[in-house]
Symmetry: C3
Subunit: 235 residues, 3 copies
């Protein structure tokens, strides 16, 4: 086996780190104590990895945003990716720069989290779930497998997003340039699997949206809605 | 090129194996005859790969389950991943330990299969499809692209799951602790694309669920259902 | 660091290329000027990468199709993957051979594009979106995150596909062998998030399909449809 100096660690790594084979650590990366990083994972320039963080295999962390000619540019704020202590990152995960992952957060395999996102402590982001840019997610949320959290959204604390939930943030579907707005989901609400939330809708506190529902307008607190379009039901 | 001893093969590899560049094979891995493994793929400790298995590039196979503080722990049974002969595993795939992949199974690119899963011979798991823990899938099933097979589910033989089908297994959406139960889909049934199945529903034999339907209760054998919620239709 | 000769470049690489660590470039690959390739990415045999193309980390490009016993074989035409100038490919992306990616196309992280696909100039394929085989996509299209573009489909120019849109191409769901046919989406149409399109439907020009709609038959030009099944609405 190659010794440390022959691997591709361009930053200082604490002795307590356990690093897999073919790990790449670019420069200006900070690694806390007792960090584990799986094989073939890459930590890009400037990222900060807290104590006791566990990262799986084949991950790419700290990605700089990129666009083509037709895409809106993200604000260039030169911030780094920060992953707080005790977080667990799965395998084949991508996470962007300018994003903050809270303490003891779990990010599942194949998930992707974009730039300018904050994820509160102990929140779970399921496997293959995607969190787009400029979104704030509270503490103790559960975002299940293959759920799609669009950009410019707010999820308050203790929100549950079922598998395959879909959200959108552009009511003109690319036809006009305006300030995109995703859903605002208030604390304690639960969204059933494969439900669809339209741009800018607000879901009240402790409200339940049924599986497969299509939410086209704001929903009040403490009720249950279902159907296409979603309407209040007695439970 | 590096010779074998300088690569990261910590188990004994048959001469008949064709291994890509940057492949990592951890210890206690068993590799059959005529196995092909693509570049940058990792086979984790204890996995068993049968004869004539073909594995793509950038895969992670044999992953140990991990959880955060708020997630249920998986039963620790210390079993290994077993991939039987003739299976084809795509690229950028993740598969967990304690899972058995049958003969001539096809697993598409970007797919993920979790722990304590069995997949019957010749079944197809489409690209980016996800199979969660404790699920049994029969023989000759087709699970299409981006379909989500939740945990604690049963799919009998010859089941067809269309693309983007969504299932769930937790009727309280995280609010109570109970024995989670996914759908039970009986032999020969077909589920249309983007349909939603609620926790614990049974789909009868040779029944057809239309595209986009939301199945909220058990469905009898040999019928066709569609709509939100799904109802029997004449065909 | 290793020098170029000790890396795994089996083709001739221009001096202007910026290549990450652990990059694998197989033989008969053509690389244009000013190409950037991230760490751990693999360019498979015969691929052609145009000038100024930027490729992220952990990608697999130029994959040969593979099937199991129960899958239809793809036409073996021995064509290569061609990525035209200025395209940007994200991280953890898979793209097959016999496919042509147009100029300045953007392919998001975790996306997959199969064989015999053409993607027109400046089109955006969102993260974790999947484009299946034998599909033609025009110029200036936007295919959003987690959208599923099935095989044998046609998307004309300026089409907008919202996040999590689902399409299918097999009306018998595997029960019969026939010529599969995906949707034909005419120019300027917009499909809302999580809508479902059935096999072979035609969506007229400049038509809008609402979020969560299920399109079961052809839709005329210049109208808006919504609901399950989708019907014309006044807007």
């Amino acid at each position: 086996m190659l010794n440390r100096e022959e691997r591709f660690y361009l930053s200082i790594i604490p002795e307590s780190a356990q690093l897999g084979i073919h790990v790449v650590i670019e420069k200006d990366v900070k690694i806390g104590e007792n960090v584990v990083i799986g094989h073939n994972s890459t930590i890009l320039q400037g990222s900060e990895i807290g104590d006791n963080v566990i990262i799986g295999n084949n991950c790419v962390l700290g990605i700089e945003p990129a666009v083509n000619l037709r895409m809106r540019k993200t604000k260039k704020n030169n911030n780094k990716l920060v992953i707080h202590s005790g977080a667990r990152i799965g395998n084949l995960v991508s996470i962007y720069s300018s994003t903050v992952i809270g303490k003891s957060v779990f990010i599942g395999d194949h998930a992707s989290v974009r730039e300018n996102v904050t994820i509160g402590d102990e929140t779970i982001v399921g496997r293959a779930a995607i969190v787009e840019l400029n979104t704030k997610i509270g503490k103790n949320c559960t975002i299940q497998t293959l759920a799609y959290v669009t950009g410019d959204s707010i999820l308050e604390d203790n929100v549950f997003i079922g598998p395959c939930v879909s959200m959108s943030n552009d009511k003109y579907m690319g036809a006009k340039s305006y300030d995109l707005k995703g859903p605002h989901i208030k604390k304690g609400s639960k969204i059933g699997n494969n439900a669809s939330l339209l741009p800018g809708v607000t879901i009240g506190e402790n409200t339940i949206v049924g599986a497969g529902a299509v939410v086209t307008k704001n929903i009040e607190d403490n009720i249950t809605v279902a159907g296409v379009p979603a309407k209040k039901i007695n439970t």
